[in-house]
Amino acid sequence: MQDFPEFISFKCGIYIEVFVKWLLDNFMGFFDVLNEGVLMFLLKAEAFLLWLPWWCLVLLVFLLGWRFRNLRAGILYAFLLSLIGVFGLWQLTMSTLAIVLTSVVISLLLGIPVGILMSHHAKLEVVIKPILDAMQTMPSFVYLIPAIMFFGLGMVPAVFATVIYALPPVIRLTNLGIKNVPKEMVEASYSFGSSSWQTLLKVQLPQALPTIMTGINQTTMMALSMVVVASMIGAKGLGYEVLAGISRIEIARAFDAGLSIVILAVIIDRISQGIADKYKIPEQ
């Protein structure tokens, strides 16, 4: 076997590192503000979830399950959620939920507009598509590094890493949903003298809604799966329990927390799927 010739050596990681450092040096203030803002939202969300009596949430899950799927599903989800409480992991679950919630909200605030822009500008799509591909194939914990560099340890960098990881589906599916609106329908809208903005709000977004909902669902699931990874940089919650369980070989502890994550995932997935289905527009 021959080694690759050593004189043709080039490492690009170093440039990224330099770039990140440069960002830090020049935009420290910006990151501070960002940090503050996200942290505030995060703490408020967590405080709210913890303030909420446990049965309130169980009831909410029951109602949502009932409304968007069926009665049996509602009962099942309520039971599963109570199970988490039985494990004694309620508080940790709320912390996890707060991180997921914050990440999803930020992802949507970023992702939907980007998806819309992409669907309208072919050139932008050419630029963004490969970036999204890269974001999705990159091992998720790679995002932890810039997160730590920008925000140190704690919840905010966890959110930051989660957002980067969970962003692609909602962008992709928003773009796809808008592009798949039948051409004749969009033209009908324009033929009545609608502006692009009116066409977007009155025709394209409502038509794309089911697809966007699927994107939101996927983004949420990815955010949830990132929680365990993000716990490595100090996000407390269920992920940290799993991590701690693994590192100390406490199978029971890791298993309970892991199971709780699965339960959370199933409930969120099914309910958001149900909502997405409700928005399905019947085919012509």
Binding site: P182, E184, E187, S191, F192, G193, P206, Q207
Partner: protein
């Protein structure tokens, strides 16, 4: 078909019988103001329209341009005018550029070259705001596959135009309801498009287009996706609506029969250019070239042509003053077995047959005595279709007369039958 026509509102009968009379039509077109005027319109799809325009000017063909540049010439140097209230039909085969052309008329396609005037204003130069206003007030479009908003209810669809114009909610509901009722869809307001049949969906499309009360209606193969029976109903309804509201309509079809049935004038397109424009009769009786002749050969001519189009000058005519002898001579000379008799003012008096004339000559009778009165007459603007019955039973040629009973021409049975093929 004939029965159906009888039940039509007066307006359609009026249209068919009065306006379609050729002289009247010409006068009518002349009297009307020009609504749409298209000048040297060209539309090129591709990266480099400027270069392609030059090539087109130098006379290169559409195929060659496509091979060399990859650009498609959708519409090639087209000019025409549409009068106010006219039903203007554009027909042509698939890919001939019909849609491209009609979509230029509301600037869904931006022309590569040429001008389009509507009410005298050049719409090609409109800015965004003016264009928006133009689309909201002057022109509406009906689509082949309806283009309904599937996420909105039926009434939500019809309301769309007024909504964009900023009309308050209550008022636009009213407008939408009225327009839905006009196309016979009361009670369907809260359904969704997927719950309706094809014909009903296109009615919604029509109601939606009418909701803004536009002057001009652009219809791109609106009935092509419908099955034949519903299609026929919609065509008749369209004629009815046109007669009632007097909108200017630009209508696209690839079906010759539909074009000739609906159009006051018809433009035939081929490869992005207009090959001929004229009334259905003009095109049918006088096709500009081989292509058009081929195109119109399977038209049901009986629905387009009138008695006036197929009548011939009588080979022989005799006057009341003439005796049986003259009658026999005329018939012999022309090889016919009967001849019409007119008075000094060419007023039709009757018909004599050769047998009767020979007998009269022997028995010293006068022409007056052998005059047969039970011949059939018709007016020049009767559709050939309505003569078929008569032609198949009558013994004599059919006399074409005007209101004063003056003989204009005769129709022999064979010309009716040949129009059938």
């Amino acid at each position: 078909m004939t029965e159906f026509r009888k039940e039509l509102p007066i307006s359609i009968k009026y249209r068919n019988n009065e306006c379609k009379k050729k002289d009247n039509l010409i006068e009518w077109v002349y009297r009307m103001t020009v609504k749409i005027k298209v000048e040297n319109l060209t539309k090129i799809f591709g990266r480099n329209p400027k270069a392609v325009l030059k090539k087109l000017k130098s006379g290169e063909s559409k195929e060659k341009i496509f091979r060399e540049t990859g650009n498609t010439v959708g519409v090639n140097n087209v000019s025409f005018e549409v009068s106010e209230g006219e039903f203007f039909v554009i027909m042509g085969l698939s890919g001939s550029g019909k849609s491209t052309l009609i979509r230029c008329l509301n600037l869904l396609n931006i022309p590569s070259a040429g001008q389009i005037y509507v009410d005298g204003a050049n719409i090609v130069q409109y800015n965004k705001k003016a264009l928006g206003e133009f689309r909201q007030k002057k022109v509406a479009m009906v689509f082949q596959h309806f283009g309904l908003f599937t996420h909105r209810t039926i009434i939500g669809n019809v309301e769309y135009g007024p909504e964009i114009r900023g009309i308050p909610k209550e008022e636009r509901r009213e407008i939408a309801k009225k327009n839905l009722a006009a196309v016979g869809l009361e009670g369907w307001e809260d359904k969704y498009p997927n719950e309706l049949s094809g014909g009903m969906r296109q009615r919604v499309g029509l109601a939606r287009a009418f909701a803004n009360d536009p002057d001009i209606l652009l219809m791109d193969e609106p009935f092509s996706a419908l099955d034949p029976l519903i299609r026929r109903d919609m065509q008749l309804e369209m004629l009815d609506i046109h007669a009632k509201l007097g909108k200017t309509i630009v209508f696209i079809t690839h079906d010759v029969n539909e074009a000739f049935k609906l159009g006051d004038r018809v433009a035939v397109m081929k490869d992005g250019a207009i090959e001929q424009i004229g009334t259905p009769e003009e095109i049918l009786t006088n096709p500009a070239n081989e292509y058009i002749a081929n195109f119109v050969q399977d038209v049901d001519k009986t629905k387009v042509l009138h008695a006036g189009n197929i009548m011939i000058k009588p080979g022989a005519l005799i006057s009341l003053k003439d005796g049986p002898k003259v009658a026999i001579k005329e018939m012999r000379n022309n090889g016919i077995s009967s001849v019409f008799v007119v008075d000094n003012a060419r007023k039709l008096q009757g018909i004599v047959t050769i047998d009767d004339a020979v007998k009269a000559l022997k028995e010293q009778q006068k022409l007056q005595d052998i005059l047969i009165k039970d011949y059939d007459t018709t007016t020049p603007d009767t559709y050939v279709q309505d003569l078929i019955q008569v032609a198949s039973t009558t013994k004599y040629p059919i006399a074409v007369v005007d209101e004063q009973d003056k003989l204009l021409g005769i129709i022999v049975r064979v010309s009716v039958l040949s129009a059938l093929t």
